[in-house]
Amino acid sequence: MYEVCKIINIIDETPTVKTFVLDKSFKFKPGQFAMIWLPEVNEKPFSFASENSFTIAKVGPFTDKMHKLKIGDKIAVRGPYGSYFKQYGEKILAVAGGVGAVPIVTAVEAFNAEITTILGARNKDELLFIDRFKKHSKLLICTDDGSLGFKGYTTDLMEKVLKEESFDSIIACGPEVMLKKVVKIAYEHNIPVQVSMERYMKCGIGVCGHCCLDNGLCVCKDGPVFTGEQLRKIIIYK
C-alpha cells in the first residue's frame, strides 16, 4: 500500500518551506495529494509539487520532523488520492496564496492554456515557484507587506485583474478565507471556479467522515478540488 521512497534532494524554497525530492515517481493529476507517513510520528496529506516531490511548509510537529529529514532518509507515501484541477476553457486565471502555490503550479504546468497567475505571500521571501510560474504563465505577484509586487491580498489583486480582463475559468488554492472570497468573486463575475480545500484528514479515503463538509462531501475523496457549484451553498450562504 505504501511506497517507501528515499529522499534524494532537499531544496530550501523559503525560510519556512522545503521541497523534498524522492527517488520514486507517482502518476498524479494536478491538485491530487498523497498521505506521507513518518513511522512513530504521524501521517499527513500533502499536495504533489511534481511527480516526485512534495513542497512542505513548517507549520507544526509533523512538518517540523519533515524539515529535519536529510538526504537518504526514507518516507512512506500512499496515493495519489482525491479530485484534481480540470482545464475549463482556454484562458485561465490561477490564484495561489502561500503554500497554496503547490497544487496551482502543477496545474499551470499541466494545462494547455493562456494562464495568468496571481501569486501571493506574506512577504517576498515566502513567494514560491516564481520561475516555474513565469515559465508557464503571466505572473502577477502580490505581498501582504508590499515587499514585492502589488501590496495587498491575492483577492484584492484578483478583483483588479477581473475589472480589466475576462477569463474562461479560475483555479485557486490558499487559506480558507481567501478561497471563500475567490468563490464569491468568481460567482459575482459569473466565471466557473475550482478551489482546492484543506482539512485535517484521518483516513484520507472517504471512510471515516472526519473531513466531511456540511453538505456531506469529503475533502479527501470528493475533494480536495471542488467546483464553486459544490461549495457555493455552504461557503456563501452559510
Binding site: M1, Y2, V4, M35, W37, P39, E40, V41, N42, E43, K44, K74, A76, R78, M201, K202, C203, G204, I205, G206, V207, C208, G209, H210, C212, L213, D214, N215, G216, L217, C218
Partner: protein, 298 residues
Amino acid sequence: MEIKLCGIKFKNPIFLASGIMGDNAGALKRIAINGAGAVTTKSIGLKPNMGHKNPVIVELDEGFLNAVGLANPGVDNYIEELKKIRGFLDKIGVRIIASIYGKDEEEFKEVAKKIEPYVDMIELNISCPHAKGYGLEIGQDVDLSYNVCKSVKSAVNIPVFAKISPMVNIREIAEALCNVVDGFTAINTVKGMVIDINMKKPILSNKFGGLSGKYIKPIGVRVVYELYEYKKPIIGVGGIFNGRDALEYFMAGASAVQIGSAVYFRGYDVFNKIYKEIKEFLDKEGLELKDIIGIAHE
C-alpha cells in the same frame, strides 16, 4: 422491507455501521439520502477525544484495519451535529442509532441520558479492540459488561443494544446480558496488525487495530448464529458487501444488518444496491424477509 425492532419501525433493515461516515452531520446525512434504514453514529463519549495519531487506518484488498481510538467531539458537541439533521432524517424516515462508549457504567449512563432525546436507539460499544480502558477491555469482563448494560438500560427509555466482540466467549457474555439489553449488535472488528515490510514497522500508530471487511464475514455469521439462541433481536455486521452476504446474516438470525467497509468498496449508495439485491433474492424465492430470519437453524 419495512421492519420493526423493539417496537420501532425502520423503512428497511440495511443500516450504516458505527465508525464509518459518522463523524458529523454532513456525513450522516449523505448516508441517509443514499437509502440506509438507519444511521449509526461514531462511538460518542462524554468528553472530546482526539483518538490516536495517524495512520489510523490501513487499506486492505477487501477491508480495513483501523485504530481510530474512539476519536469524537464529545457528546455535547455531537448533539449539536445531530440537531442539524434530526428533522430532515425524521422526514425521510431514517432512524438514528447512537453508538456510545465510556470508561465505566457511570460514564456510559451519562452519555446515554444526554443523547437519548436526539436518537431512536442506543448501541453500547463494549467491543472496540483498540482503545485502552474502553470497548473490549470492558467487554472482556462479563460483570463489568453486565453493569454497564444494566445501568444504561435503567436510565433511558429507548431500546439498548450491546455490540459484541467476536473475541470473547459468546455463550458467557450472551447469557449475562440477554436479560438486561433489548438486543445485540454483532460483530465489532477483530484485533489485528499489519506490518509494512519496507518500513519494518506496524503501520497503525496504535500498532494494533480492528480488522473489518470481507475478512471477518464468516466470523460474524458464526457469532450471530450463536447469539440467536438467546432470543433477542440481533443486528448483524461484519463484512457485508452485497445482498448475498446480508442474506447469510439474516439466515443466521439477524433482523437487520449494518454496512461499514462496503461503503468504501461499493460507494456511498451501497445501501440502495444491497436493498435491491436482497429484494431480488426474496422475490425469486417467493419469500418475505421475516420468513428467512434464523432459517439456517431449522
